[in-house]
């Protein structure tokens, strides 16, 4: 199996090799290696499974088992923007249902669906560890807190223009303090 069949950049392949070096056993590097592929491809295609099987010397079943156990690992291409809204208890108390209903109306899809143009997917997810700042939603590495229908509209408007709006946690990315 050629390493290129998964179309990983040389940099990503180097990172996988470094992870295998750093972790105490080959198999223990499985999750971080999956993250390398996820970060570059957006999901783990069959060729990615082959690559992991070969590099880590584990069975394809083991790779599939891990891929399917963890909700953040995906084996299919994803929508351009997957909006993950917390529907757990604290956010529920603070109005998550209103936010979800608003998103459903604006996007014309139900929770769990993807828009026909593959632009947006809407998912209900469990507690995001932002309960005091709820309702909240996650988009990749960005977390949006204290959501209201107005704030949701602003986020959607920006995404439709292809711009990921500044999130409440983005100060971290800039290495900034408070």
């Amino acid at each position: 199996m050629s390493e290129n069949s998964c179309n990983l950049s040389p940099d990503a392949l180097a990172r996988i090799d470094a992870l295998i070096e750093r972790y105490p056993t080959r198999a223990s590097a499985l999750m971080p290696c999956i993250w390398v592929i996820m970060d570059e491809v957006g999901h783990v295609p069959p060729a990615g499974v082959d690559l992991l099987t070969e590099k880590l010397a584990i069975s394809p079943a083991r790779v599939h088992e891990v891929l399917s156990f963890y909700t953040m690992f995906r084996t299919e291409p994803q929508a351009r923007y997957t909006l993950q809204v917390c529907h757990n208890i604290s956010c529920h108390i603070m109005g998550a249902r209103t936010v979800i209903a608003h998103l459903e109306k604006r996007l014309g899809i139900r929770l769990g669906e993807t828009t026909p143009d593959d632009m947006f997917a809407l998912e209900g997810v469990e507690c995001l560890g932002a309960c005091g700042m709820g309702p909240c939603l996650q988009l990749g590495k960005h977390l949006y807190e204290h959501l209201t229908p107005e704030k949701v509209d602003g986020i959607l408007e920006s995404l439709r223009k292809g711009v990921v709006p500044r999130a409440d946690t983005d100060r971290l990315a800039a290495g900034g303090g408070e």
Partner: protein, 434 residues
């Protein structure tokens, strides 16, 4: 950001650039590590933490120093895991520690690893905290560059490697043996105990798993001594604890309180009471898995392990959820039962099937199809789930379920129909069904 006059854990939450190494050092950071490596034996560190009375802050409250003592003295390889999975609904305290003061946790981890003889530590951070993982990794890199990590730390001869490991969305990986399996590159399914991880954990070697807040308390205890730590809190609940408060109070957020603080005082003086127009109905004091207390009962408890146990609940993770009068308790328990059903790892029949039954039965009640006997059936299912499984997730679903019925029974009874409507005539508006 900091809401507290106590400063064992939260003193740096307000500090500008407090996450950066030079600022941490200027605040006295890594002083405890220098002292430990230059003048203490591992056993002394373990004894100091044992004497401080520090109890695990991840939920179970097991004394930290005692747990460290379970590692066999002749172990050739030991592993240490910092549990930053933080997935218990209502809990968002560890993210504050790692966000505003990552070096506090890193220093505490290095000292803890030295105490148990570990050479490779993992910080396991839930995958949803993607924005936080880069931050912690940057701090770990700084610590390596400054010689606090790696080979021959500060010339002491002690070596320690540290890996920041990213989870991928599974509540059960917060359970310590699920977490260990996860880092071995497996499904995060818990293991049968015994053997306990301290004896046989990661790669079958002795392994200690501690919550972020537990290890973050360690540098202060080393710097100030166990007696100073015990001045805070009660006789059996020593020190301070972070509570993360969510729900419609005036000032939700993360608070460091001395254990034993009366809830009444915390609620009125610290949280500012309810937002205007809301009345307090109930409180879940320690994360979604602990029994709920109605307003009248919670007003009489103190926030420490013993007082909360006497009141029939638990301190848990300190994830305090404030429930207003306007909330429908049956609807809330449906949200929670959906969560446990979703997160059961499926290994044990009582948990896999039981969480599904609880969720379906509550959903049926809320759908207007409740029939006489449903509440008994719910209790019957709970009986078949509690204390019978590999890990406590099953109990974690039963405890809120039972307490919601016990404390708010009329709300459940109101949904039982004399004659059940025809199936399918759901009263749920579109979009509300899970």
């Amino acid at each position: 950001m900091s809401n507290s006059q106590y400063n064992i854990l939260s003193s740096r939450f307000d500090r500008t650039d407090g996450h950066k190494l030079p600022v941490y050092e200027a605040d006295g950071g890594y002083k405890a590590l220098k002292m430990v490596l230059s003048s203490m034996q591992p056993a002394e560190v373990r004894d100091t933490v044992k004497e401080s009375g520090l109890r695990g802050r991840g939920g179970a409250g097991f004394p930290t120093g005692v747990k460290w003592g379970f590692v066999p003295p002749d172990a050739d390889e030991v592993y240490f895991f910092v549990n930053a999975d933080e997935s218990e609904p209502g809990t968002f305290k560890d993210r504050y520690l790692l966000d505003y003061d990552p070096h506090g946790t890193i220093e505490g981890t290095i000292i803890s690893c030295f105490a148990v003889g570990d050479r490779l530590a993992f910080i396991y951070i839930r995958g949803e905290f993607g924005w936080l993982i880069d931050r912690v990794q940057a701090a770990v890199d700084e610590a390596y560059a400054a010689g606090y990590l790696g080979k021959n730390i500060l010339g002491s001869g002690y070596d320690l490697e540290m890996i920041v490991h990213k989870g991928a969305g599974a509540y059960i990986c917060g359970e310590e043996t699920g977490l260990i399996n996860s880092v071995e590159g497996r499904k995060g399914q818990p293991r049968i105990k015994p053997p306990f991880p301290a004896v046989a954990g990661f790669l079958n070697k002795p392994t200690i798993v501690n919550n972020v807040e537990s290890v973050a308390s360690v540098p202060w205890i080393i710097n100030n001594g166990p007696e100073a730590y015990k001045k805070f809190g009660t006789e059996k609940s020593c020190g301070t604890k972070l509570f993360s408060v969510s729900g419609p109070v005036k000032k939700p957020g993360v608070y460091e309180i001395p254990l034993g603080l009366p809830f009444r005082e915390f609620f009125h003086d610290w949280l500012g009471g309810m937002v205007d127009g809301e009345e307090l109905k109930a409180v879940i004091v320690g994360g979604s898995s602990v029994p709920v207390l109605p307003a009248a009962e919670v007003m009489n408890v103190n926030l420490d392990y013993e007082s909360l146990a006497n009141a029939g609940t638990m301190l848990g993770s300190g994830g305090m959820i404030i429930i207003p009068e306007s909330c429908d308790m049956v609807e809330l328990i449906q949200v929670l039962m959906h969560f446990y059903y979703d997160e059961s790892c499926g290994q044990c029949t009582p948990c896999r099937e039981g969480t599904g039954w609880l969720h379906k039965l509550v959903k049926k009640l809320r759908g207007g199809e409740g029939t006489a006997g449903d509440l008994d059936l719910l209790e019957h299912v709970c009986q078949g789930m509690a204390g019978l499984t590999i890990c406590p997730l099953s109990d974690a679903a039963v405890m809120p379920m039972r307490s919601f019925i016990d404390k708010f029974r009329p709300e459940f009874e109101a949904l039982i129909q004399e004659t059940a409507p025809v199936a399918g005539s759901s009263r749920w508006p579109r979009g509300e069904q899970e």
